[in-house]
Symmetry: C2
Subunit: 661 residues, 2 copies
């Protein structure tokens, strides 16, 4: 029987948080995609747990932040087990893909080939992957023999040897049948620290392992230690360190330094020695004179700290690596899952728009230039933090080898700042118009510039039009009101992750005649058939399908009227449902939720306004005056494939008279 | 074949919002219950839509307020279709009853008998009901023949005649088999305006129908009317009135006065004349000179305004009526569903605790004394409001028959105030210790007093201990911090609807030696084996099973320590899971969510504190000093069945030494 072959736009390998985030984009953008994972089980406990602010914003853009918020234990970052997060993703993907994208578990990739003659062809499927379906026994992760009935995570730990996996592949190959060949436009490898995809590409991680071995346990503690429900670090004089992370329900996660286990000559520790009893014994020593016991353990694992980052994030703009496949570090900073998800939150929409023929393929180069720097920052932070944490406390000020409590406390506080994820700042590219190039981002491997290159001085002027919206950073959120119904919205709530770019028109004081004339002129250009908005919109599709125009004005809401004061292109008309009442907002006081003061907070002039482009992942891409329409046009010509404008009237907004049924 | 017979603690008739709320209580309290509905379909559109503040608080206590908030259109009250609310209830009931309580659809009650010799016997099942299962055709509501494919709600409208239902019962009786006999401890009739349960009891509604006929349509409007996304009322000179309620998605609900349809000699309107075309034509006339059209109609109905209230809310404390079964009114005030759900939110826990043998049966008398007055207020409000709304606008100040715009506007604003549902104030009873009796509530049918009757003067002194927590009103919510982990909580979030009473100990300044001595004395009494807390707790059950003790102190959080400063009874020890970290809270500033200033807002002295009892439905029941333990004891003796204290040590909290595993 011939091996079955099929085409797919996007194949995602690995169904952890990074892979699921990529799949979520495909579902939200309506892209033909598959996601496979070699293991047959979902995670129900343990694994990563911290969720930083930016991750919550991302969940909100996908539509499930409220569920995470509700279930989690709230600290400065919120804590939630990975199993729940994966469940939220699965339900979200199911809903948005209408059941088309499902995780195919127990499916192992066996070979990967890229046809270099086709990599520049938009219509081609240049990546060929052979997949094999495992049987149940093969795909169930082996559990440590001595772990009794407590689930452990050693199979995902870096203490496992690569040959375990080779064995798995060999076993599967011995079996007959159940393999298939898939031709993909794009492949995203999210298959973890020992990434099969990375090894198939022959790519390396730069960095090193350390001598520090740590255990992790999720338990319900019975203890007289007073701060057991606070996030805290215990730095004992002789017995090493311990970190307490309170979790949902009564669970507490403990990170416990294992001084009794040391790496062997090869630099790797022997995982067979590591048991929950050994880990908990270490915790009891560190906490002494306080007492700690437990009856219930939810999950445990152990790992060796290693900090590594990938030198290449993609092969030929067709196969991409994300998450632990391109950066590994210690889990204690609670950052790994966040940075991994944010990798594919950055990559997913780019791949989706390229696969759909909406965006130019070369926007894919920005993935490495934007994300590698973030991984490097994370690893630098983790490096400093882990050594401080695993080190011996200083006995006094003269003890230079010891770690002083002052230095430690300082690092801990800075860590919280870094950990929010809101400080990420992407450099110049064809997606971000600012001065300089990607070398400034510390990534020399791909030098990217803004298509419309801009001088430092000119950029300063444009940035000053919206000083609270730094180009390259995520669009900050303040409350505005819907013009039509006065409902207050956090503006970020409107920037849903649906793959659309947004042009945000800060229309200023629309009741002033000269400002109204500026807005009208801008709208005439926007509505012109040979300009970007109509050219990017597919025939017969609504005018807001690819780029959504949103307006925030600063006049009094009750003095203005949607149909009277705003050109139709700002609230398009549809013959089935009438005008769109969800496009125009106002910076005004709400009836019962206060005043967002958005113009002031965004640093925008209340009289004159400005225009801001927001990427599908909510990063600020371009800022200009209402008169800078040509530059705006150039921005979209630089990153999107502009087709022919649809015939007049097909995609709406012509004429303001009320049609008769 | 003999008709099958079975016993059930609680039988709920009708699965609208009132019935589902009752079922939710049974699920949350673990009561053996069934819920039946004669119709086989759930509601997916239309019906009631406004959700007032108090209803949202109630949803929060059940654990699903966030879902309603997320899906709804936010106005001053939020708008959500009844179908979604019923769905939230169904999922909540499924989860909390572990699938035991399911709505049995297409099940019709045929007869009801109360065995008067057994009504005072706690162990008896004195109510006998015969149930018959309908086939699919019988239980599908007939749709108006002329309504094309748009779902209509006429079958629930008061324009339908009672004989439609008689016909349904007759049809079912003609069929063989599929009937059963159920013996119930309690029956709750939530079967709507034409309640079968009410008629089976022979009870009447007091009140009258009016001449005003209204149509209702849920449409996506295509219109140039500027305020179509605002809640507003249009009062035309000659063509009647119209009310606009924006809804979720693009839907808008219109309430439209039908001047062309008049009641016949019997006082009832002919529903065969009423079509969507007739209703929409009336809307177009009222809105003229603005234009309105639609392509999509989601649902429509029509009703005749009638205001009626039941004279009796229960029969022998065994069969209860709730919701539309005991009060009907026009839907425009958006209150019906809220008041109906709040009826059973008041009743459900009382029936649950009586059925479980935890509470004395005579607390059931408070259902009528507390809820009938609310229905009367609602009907009075609706009466005034409807007449204003259906009336002709005044031509000038001399036009006495017309309604002046000033009067109308005033009523509209007052309506919003009334509509929050937060102003409900229950009178004295064995559940609420305040001065006076239930006559003061305007309900002369059952005169109830506080068990420990209290003079006006004494009550004033007690109320002054917590002036922001009026006895008889719902426990207001301010933010406090968890002592152990510093997480901020709205205090109401902790008052979950699980059937437990709460003793809230405002412990005051716990770091002051004399105040600490007062707290210690109170705790010694609380912990004593012959006092209410241990006596009410079943053997082997946790000490917080029936009454939960919660503490809010006012010292600095970081200066206090849970295990050191608070007696064990305030954070009970469990040998499997250690101390309870979720019982002690502090009125202190949070790290990142501001300062709730709870003592100040509750009007409690920061040094001395006080003690407050909260009912399972979050109403304030009793206030006293820390020295008023005897009064507190009397309160619980008055409403609960206190058993024998459990043997020492069985229900926890003895000794503070750490047990060895």
């Amino acid at each position: 029987m011939a091996t079955p072959e099929s085409n797919i736009d996007v194949l995602i390998i690995g169904a952890g948080p990074a892979g699921l985030m990529a799949a979520a984009w495909m579902a939200h953008c309506g892209v033909n995609a598959r996601i496979v994972d070699k293991r047959n089980t979902k995670i129900f406990c343990g694994q990563a747990d911290g969720l930083q602010c930016r991750s919550l914003e991302i969940f909100d853009s996908l539509g499930f932040a409220d569920r995470a918020w509700k279930e989690a234990n709230h600290m400065i970052e919120i804590v939630l087990q990975q199993g729940r997060i994966e469940r939220f993703f699965l339900e979200n993907i199911k809903k948005h893909s209408k059941d088309a994208i499902k995780v195919e578990r127990g499916v192992l990739p066996e070979s990967l080939e890229i046809d270099l003659s086709k990599v520049d062809d938009d219509a081609a499927y240049p990546v060929t992957i052979k997949l094999r379906t495992l049987n149940e026994e093969e795909s169930t992760p082996p559990q440590a023999a001595n772990a009794s009935k407590i689930p452990d995570g050693l199979f995902r730990s870096n203490l496992i040897r690569d040959d375990d996996e080779a064995d798995l592949i060999k076993k599967a190959q011995d079996r007959a049948g159940a393999s298939e060949i898939v031709h993909a436009k794009y492949v995203i490898g999210c298959d973890g620290a020992r990434s099969w995809t990375r090894r198939a590409l022959g790519f390396e991680l730069d960095g090193e392992a350390t001598d520090f071995i740590w255990g992790v346990m999720d338990i319900i503690p019975i203890t007289d230690f007073p701060d057991i429900r606070m996030r805290c670090a215990i730095h004992s004089a002789e017995n090493g360190s311990l970190m307490v992370i309170p979790r949902e329900n009564k669970l507490v996660r403990l990170y416990i330094q294992l001084k009794e286990v040391a790496p062997d000559a090869s630099g790797r520790a022997d995982r067979s020695k590591i048991t929950p009893e050994l880990i908990f014994g270490a915790a009891q020593k560190i906490l002494n004179p306080y007492k700690i016991e437990y009856e219930y353990c939810d999950w445990w694992t152990a790992y060796q700290i290693g900090q590594r980052v990938g030198t290449e994030y993609d092969a030929h703009g067709r196969v991409f690596l994300a998450g632990d496949a391109v950066h590994t570090h210690s889990p204690k900073a609670g950052q790994g899952m966040n940075v991994s998800m944010q990798d594919t939150y950055n990559l997913g929409w780019k791949v989706a728009l390229a696969a759909k023929g909406i965006a130019k393929r070369d926007i894919l180069n920005t993935y490495q230039s934007e994300r590698r720097r973030v991984a490097q920052d994370l690893i630098e932070f983790d490096h400093r933090f882990s050594r401080l944490f695993s080190g011996r406390p200083a006995k006094d000020v003269l003890d230079e080898e010891g770690v002083s409590m002052e230095v430690f406390k300082d690092a801990f506080l800075k860590g919280n700042l870094f950990a929010s994820g809101l400080s990420v700042d992407y450099g110049a590219s064809n997606l971000v118009v600012k001065a300089g190039d990607s070398l400034k981002q510390g990534d020399g491997s791909k030098v990217l510039k803004s298509v419309a290159s801009i001088s430092e001085e000119d950029f300063k002027k444009k940035q000053a039009l919206a000083s609270g919206l730094p180009v390259g950073m995520r669009f900050n959120s303040f409350k505005v009101l819907n013009q039509a119904c006065a409902r207050p919205w956090h503006f970020q709530e409107i920037l849903k992750a649906d793959g659309r770019f947004r042009v945000v028109l800060f229309a200023g004081n629309i009741l002033d005649a000269s400002q109204k004339a500026r807005v009208d002129n801008f709208c005439v250009a926007l509505d012109a058939p040979d300009n970007f908005l109509r050219k990017v919109t597919p025939a017969k599709a609504p005018i807001d399908s690819v780029i959504e125009v949103l307006t925030i004005h600063s006049a009094k809401r009750t003095d203005t009227e949607l149909l009277r004061d705003f050109p139709d292109i700002l609230h398009p008309f549809d013959s089935h449902t009438g005008w769109d009442y969800n496009k125009v907002y106002v910076d005004d006081e709400s009836y019962h939720e206060g005043f967002g003061d958005a113009y002031k907070n965004y640093g925008v002039n209340k009289q004159r306004g400005c225009v801001v482009v927001v990427r599908p992942d909510q990063y600020v891409a371009w800022i200009g005056e209402l008169e800078d329409f040509d530059d705006l046009q150039k921005y979209f010509e630089g990153c999107l494939l502009l087709g022919q404008p649809a015939p007049n009237g097909v995609n709406g907004t012509n004429g303001t008279s009320l049609p008769v049924r």
